[in-house]
C-alpha cells in the first residue's frame, strides 16, 4: 500500500519531475553546477586547453595542434568545458572560436574561499564553528 502511494504520487505530481528532493544544505542550490565546474577542470588535457585559452581565443584545430591530442578528443573535451560553462563559443565564418568565461572562474575561486577555514569567522550561524 505504501509503495503504491509513492508510485501514484510520482505519476501524478510535477514535483518529482526534476528528480528526488535532496538534503537541505546551505550550498544546496549551487551544488550541482559547482561539482560540474570542478569536474570540467579535473582532467590534464582540459587543463592544457584552459591554459591555452587563457592566452587568447582559439579555434578547435589550433587547440588540437598545440595540445597534440586528436581532433575528436579535443571536441569532446571542449563540449565538457562548454556544458560546465567554463568556456564560451563564437562563430566566425566557418570556424568556431573558444574563449574562457571569467565569471565561472571567479565563482570557482569564490567557492574555494567560502570553504577555506576561518573565512566565515563571526558570520557563521553554526554553533561550535571555529
Amino acid at each position: 500500500m505504501r509503495r503504491s502511494f509513492w508510485v501514484r504520487l510520482a505519476r501524478k505530481s510535477r514535483f518529482w519531475r526534476g528528480g528526488l528532493p535532496r538534503f537541505p544544505h546551505p550550498l544546496h542550490i549551487q551544488l550541482a553546477p559547482v561539482a560540474q565546474w570542478f569536474h570540467a577542470a579535473s582532467d590534464t588535457t582540459r587543463l592544457d586547453i584552459l591554459e591555452l585559452l587563457s592566452q587568447r581565443e582559439r579555434c578547435q584545430s589550433e587547440i588540437a595542434r598545440l595540445t597534440g591530442a586528436p581532433q575528436s578528443n579535443v571536441s569532446f573535451h571542449l563540449r565538457v568545458l562548454k556544458e560546465a560553462g567554463l568556456i564560451t563559443e563564437h562563430r566566425d565564418g566557418r570556424r568556431r572560436f573558444y574563449g574562457l568565461r571569467g565569471e565561472t572562474l571567479d565563482n570557482m575561486v569564490a567557492v574555494i574561499q567560502f570553504v577555506s577555514p576561518g573565512k566565515h569567522r563571526g558570520t557563521c550561524l553554526l554553533s561550535g564553528c571555529q
Binding site: A32, A35, S116, L126
Partner: protein, 108 residues
C-alpha cells in the same frame, strides 16, 4: 610548444577531481567550520560509511584534508594550503592576467 604550468598538471587535476562530486563538496563545506569525525559526517550527510570513507580517501589523496587521531577517533580537517593553491591556480588561468608577462608570442 611547451605549455607553462605552474603546478604539476596531474596534481592540479586531482585537486579539481576531489571537488567534482556533490557529496565531497558538502564534506568540504562541513569541514570548513571545524574538524569533524566520521560519525558526525555520516550522520549529517546520511550516506553509508563505506561510501563516506571512499570520498574521504579521494579528498585525502588530493591533499585537501588531513586526518588526526585522537584516542579511538579519527578527526578530519581541511588543508588550508591546498585550497589556497587551487584558488591561485584558478586565478592564474583567468584571461588577461598574464598580459605583458607571457612568453607566448600570440598571447593577448
Amino acid at each position: 610548444m611547451t605549455i607553462a604550468l605552474r603546478a604539476e598538471p596531474a596534481r592540479v587535476a586531482s585537486w579539481f577531481h576531489a571537488l567534482a562530486d556533490e557529496t565531497r563538496v558538502k564534506i568540504v563545506e562541513m569541514l570548513s567550520h571545524k574538524e569533524r569525525c566520521v560519525c558526525e559526517l555520516e550522520q549529517v550527510l546520511g550516506i553509508a560509511q563505506s561510501r563516506l570513507s571512499f570520498h574521504i580517501k579521494v579528498l585525502k589523496d588530493a591533499g585537501l584534508i588531513a586526518d588526526r587521531k585522537e584516542g579511538r577517533w579519527m578527526f578530519y580537517g581541511l588543508q588550508r594550503e591546498t585550497l589556497d593553491h587551487i584558488a591561485a591556480y584558478t586565478r592564474s588561468v583567468k584571461p588577461g592576467k598574464h598580459a605583458g608577462s607571457c612568453a607566448v608570442a600570440c598571447c593577448d
